[in-house]
């Protein structure tokens, strides 16, 4: 195609770029700008305070615990999802009647809004009348205050998020396993490799791309965790289960500290960006090795 034609073609991406400038880029700069002000979120006047929001952010105990929780939700969920997802994929790739139904059902929770899933799980983890405590009562005669204790509540949230989205990892790994050429496996079998060796030395290295995409998908999902927490604990008890995402919303609308919320937002934006870049670079380097 001619140069002139190609240059004219660039008009085609203008609408997309304009949309993203107005609704993402401008708000992003606006958020950075507002993070330097003391502002309640609605009044006309705001006071420039420099880096004060960032300083008080690091002095804030709840911010530090939300940061820790965000990393827990991100990394522990991702870790569990890879282990369980891969195990499920390997299992559901073996031959038995009805494996298709099991695959279908495991992916199904990903169709449900995380918020609604949080409410469904509330029926399980409620202290009085929850399914978990009914079972515990019947067998052990005790009950656990699942959502009334910070650490247990965090574990419950990790469990729910892992449970709901492990199907996504499973599907990605299953596609990866089925993409491994049968001829490699057969050649190795002829050479006398057993099932574990075939998995460890042929399938697993060839699953590298699947691992990379699954990890990045789950990691971003965990680091931005919001809906489940809102449904289940709303950050409580005593603000112990907040993620950065829920804490931003909490500071902005409940505490009317918009500038402060903006500063946390900028911090978590940079954090998620840096973490995904490191993880991406790590997998890209690994890929060269094989």
């Amino acid at each position: 195609m001619t140069r002139k034609r190609l240059r004219k073609l660039n008009w085609f991406y203008v609408p997309a770029v304009v949309l993203m400038l107005v609704f993402i880029a401008y708000p992003l700069f606006n958020a950075v700008y507002l993070s330097f002000f003391k502002w309640n979120g609605y009044s006309v006047s705001k006071e420039f305070i420099g880096f004060q929001n960032y300083i008080s952010m690091f002095e804030d105990k709840v911010f530090r615990s939300s940061l820790r929780n965000t990393l827990i939700y991100g990394f522990i969920c991702t870790f569990l999802q890879q282990i369980i997802g891969l195990a499920m994929a390997v299992f559901l790739n073996t031959k038995f009647k009805g494996r298709g139904i099991v695959r279908t059902v495991i992916y199904m929770p990903a169709m449900v809004s995380s918020l609604v899933m949080g409410y469904i799980m509330y029926f399980f983890f409620q202290t009085k009348g929850g399914v978990m405590n009914d079972i515990l009562n019947a067998f052990a005669g005790t009950s656990v205050d699942w959502l009334g204790n910070g650490n247990i509540a965090i574990a419950v949230i990790v469990f729910i998020n892992t449970w709901q989205f492990v199907g996504v990892s499973m599907v990605i790994y299953l596609a990866g396993i089925q993409g491994v050429s049968q001829s490699y496996i057969e050649a190795a079998t002829v050479d006398g490799a057993n099932a574990w060796q075939r998995f460890r030395f042929i399938t697993l290295p060839l699953l590298q791309p699947a691992l990379a995409s699954s990890v990045i998908y789950n990691l971003i999902g965990g680091l931005k965790l919001y809906d489940v927490i809102i449904a289940l604990t709303d950050g409580g008890p005593a603000k112990k289960t907040h993620s950065l995402a829920t804490y931003i919303a909490n500071r902005y609308f409940d505490a009317e500290r918009a500038g402060f919320a903006a500063a946390i937002g900028v911090f978590s934006f940079v954090m998620i960006m840096v973490i995904s870049m490191i993880v991406n670079a790590y997998f890209r380097k690994k890929e060269v090795d094989y």
């Binding site: 494996r99 298709g100 199904m108 449900v112 899933m117 995409s213 609308f253």
Partner: protein, 293 residues
């Protein structure tokens, strides 16, 4: 990153098995694990249906079947009608966002796939980096922008906002696909005197059916289930989406879990039924979008 070759050995990712398996006795442990997994994944759905079929004052364990089955939660929820307003709003927003994303995203992808100049590469990587921006991190900026342009509690504001956040993924999927269509086709049409727009609509667009199905499913599920921004930008009751209606029931002070559960069941049903019938496409879409970067 290379794509796993998923067509190599048939489509046995899905429910429609390409091979039929016979039950073998020595496989008993597989059936045991399989049943356990089915239980773990279906039980929560059983519980919410169970709760939705019990009256308000019922204090029996949630695990017990309702006796007798109590349909009034569904009746009263349907009679109140909020749920249909929610479904209507979710449908309107989902359809409009999808149309906008497909048209705008497709065109952008065409330009970026065909004209890979240095400037365009920069544009492309900037668009891709937006995928890492999560909604809450820039909430304060988005909120003040949306109020400035009077876009809160409007369909158009919500549609434009959600489309912008979905566009990077859409552009990514389309760019990959369009790159695989031979340029010779465009050039032949250009020699015949077709304009860029004509080439786009007559030559490129008709070939994008399969990737468009992926986009519709993937983005559709996300938009239908969207909560974060809907909660802040659709505050009028008549604008609420289905997720917000469900939330209203659960967070009301009366603790009427029966009605709340009934609402949730009705709200979840459309997507789950679609998934069960079209799961091949759902799973394909998931795999296509995940194998990114």
């Amino acid at each position: 990153m290379s794509k796993p070759k998923r067509h190599e050995r048939g489509t046995d990712l899905y429910l429609e098995e390409t091979e039929r398996f016979k039950f073998r006795k020595k496989d008993w442990w597989k059936y045991l694990i399989g049943l356990a997994l089915l239980f773990i994944y279906l039980y929560p759905f059983f519980i919410i249906i169970n709760v939705s079929l019990k009256p308000f004052g019922d204090t029996t364990s949630r695990m017990k079947f309702p006796d007798p089955v109590y349909w009034d939660n569904f009746k009263s929820v349907i009679a109140a009608g909020d749920i249909f307003v929610g479904i209507r709003n979710s449908l309107i927003i989902t359809v409009l966002v999808l149309i906008l994303e497909i048209v705008v995203g497709c065109m952008a992808a065409y330009a970026l796939a065909r004209n890979q100049s240095k400037v365009n590469e920069v544009v492309r990587s900037l668009i891709m980096s937006v995928m890492m921006i999560t909604p809450l991190t820039i909430l304060v900026g988005v909120y003040s922008t949306m109020s400035k342009i009077h876009a809160t509690s409007t369909y158009w504001g919500m549609v434009l906002l959600l489309s912008s956040f979905g566009l990077p993924m859409v552009i990514f999927l389309y760019t990959n696909f369009i790159s695989s269509i031979p340029v010779a086709l465009d050039e032949a049409a250009a020699i015949d005197g077709a304009s860029n727009l004509q080439i786009f609509f007559k030559i490129i667009l008709p070939q994008l059916k399969s990737v468009t199905v992926t986009v519709i499913i993937l983005q559709g599920v996300g938009i239908w289930n969207e909560y974060t921004y809907s909660y802040y930008f659709l505050q009028k009751k008549e604008m609420q989406t289905i997720t917000l209606v469900i939330k209203t029931f659960f967070s009301s002070v009366s603790n009427d879990y029966g009605s709340a559960a009934a609402t949730a069941v009705i709200g979840m049903a459309p997507l789950i039924i679609l998934y069960l019938f079209l799961q091949k496409y759902f799973i394909q879409g998931q795999v296509d979008s995940a194998i990114k970067s």
